[in-house]
Amino acid sequence: MIYFDNAATTFPKPPSVIRAVQDAMTCYGANPGRSGHKMSVQTAGQVYACREKLAELMGAPEVENVAFTQNCTHGLNLCIKGILQQGDHVIISDLEHNSVLRPVDTLAQRGVITYDVLEICPEDDRETLSRLEKLFRTNTRLVAMTHGSNVLGIMTPLEKIGQLAHDHGALFLVDAAQSAGVVPIHLEKMGIDFLCMPGHKSLYGPSGTGAVVTQKGELLRTIIEGGTGSVSLESQQPDFMPDKLESGTVNTAGILGLGAGLEFITKTGMENIYRHEIGLVQSLYDGLSQIKGVQLYTSRPGLGRNLPVLAFNVESLTGEETCAKLDEVGFCLRGGFHCAPLAHKKMGTLDRGMARLSPGYFNTPEQVEIFLREMRKIAANPGNGR
């Protein structure tokens, strides 16, 4: 089995992550932040250590700027629904995942907000920004933008978008689902008000982890309230971070695993990981572009411009059919619409979807060669799908 589906979740996890989860189950099994016995306080110390590491990695000035979530979608919902009020206007991009599109569209369908979709120009940041400028209204409250497409790997000019948002008095929310742990992100320097990420993708944590990183937690109305282990005699949710956004027991084992994932990234070097992955994507692109019957949808991925994600199709096959054929010979890819209908609409693939490659740190150039060999066979004889 060769796993090329790291954009969905990273696999395998580093051994240290697996060990950390095991340690959590055997040594740090208490509920952190609830009791006063030694194991509870020690467990809380481990959770705090992960919080510290994530704050540092994301350029958050204070540890309490980090609130753990179940995944990126959870964090995005907390922020989008926590910020927006009746009459607000929102700008999103045409690359957004359903985790941004759906909460925004749901609020619009309910008549709470209106929104516009910015057309991203992959090769022309200036044009993207010029189009964005035209979308602002007096009531634009939020710009919610992906850092990079989960389908196409295209990165958005984040800092300039954030600057424009602030120039117009809007808040800036970033969906870093595909970029957290891949490319440097700095909350303060990039002018990000709300940064949402999963723990289980390029941060190498287990599934069931994620985070919201923000200095503006006080602006959020809560959509989930409950036990926080703090100020329990008050019937109101705490107004301070991270407790405000962390109701109920956190995924302790997951968070400890995430902490080990963050250490792995720091020790290995984020740039080393990114260069390795982009190198593999470039080899895949170069190889696929030589195969008759294979269609690619972006220009050659480049360092600093793209995330390590590549979408393609084989003539006469849907994206799902291509991935099914690849699954038969041991390759793990995701086919279909990737929970990103706007991206598929942009690329004209609403009728067939795409197959998506997302190599990870543990993939090798040899695996890329094996993949390309199989792709030559499939493209030469696509048949009628599965």
Partner: protein
Amino acid sequence: MALTTVIVSSITYAMKGQRILANNGFGSYVDRDIKAYGKYGCGYCICITSGDPGRAVELLRAHQIKIKEVVTG
């Protein structure tokens, strides 16, 4: 010497406060808030074990640690 206990809002602030104190040469540990139990509901405290407690509390306030109460003894 009577123990100085700094009651804070949450476990996160307790841990953060302990780190700040340790980085500045103060000894402390985190414990469940039992000194003022019932006053603030569930909470945690930082018990200062070495160093001038007055300076320790000033340091915590300077780092925006949300302090509910300081209890000595």
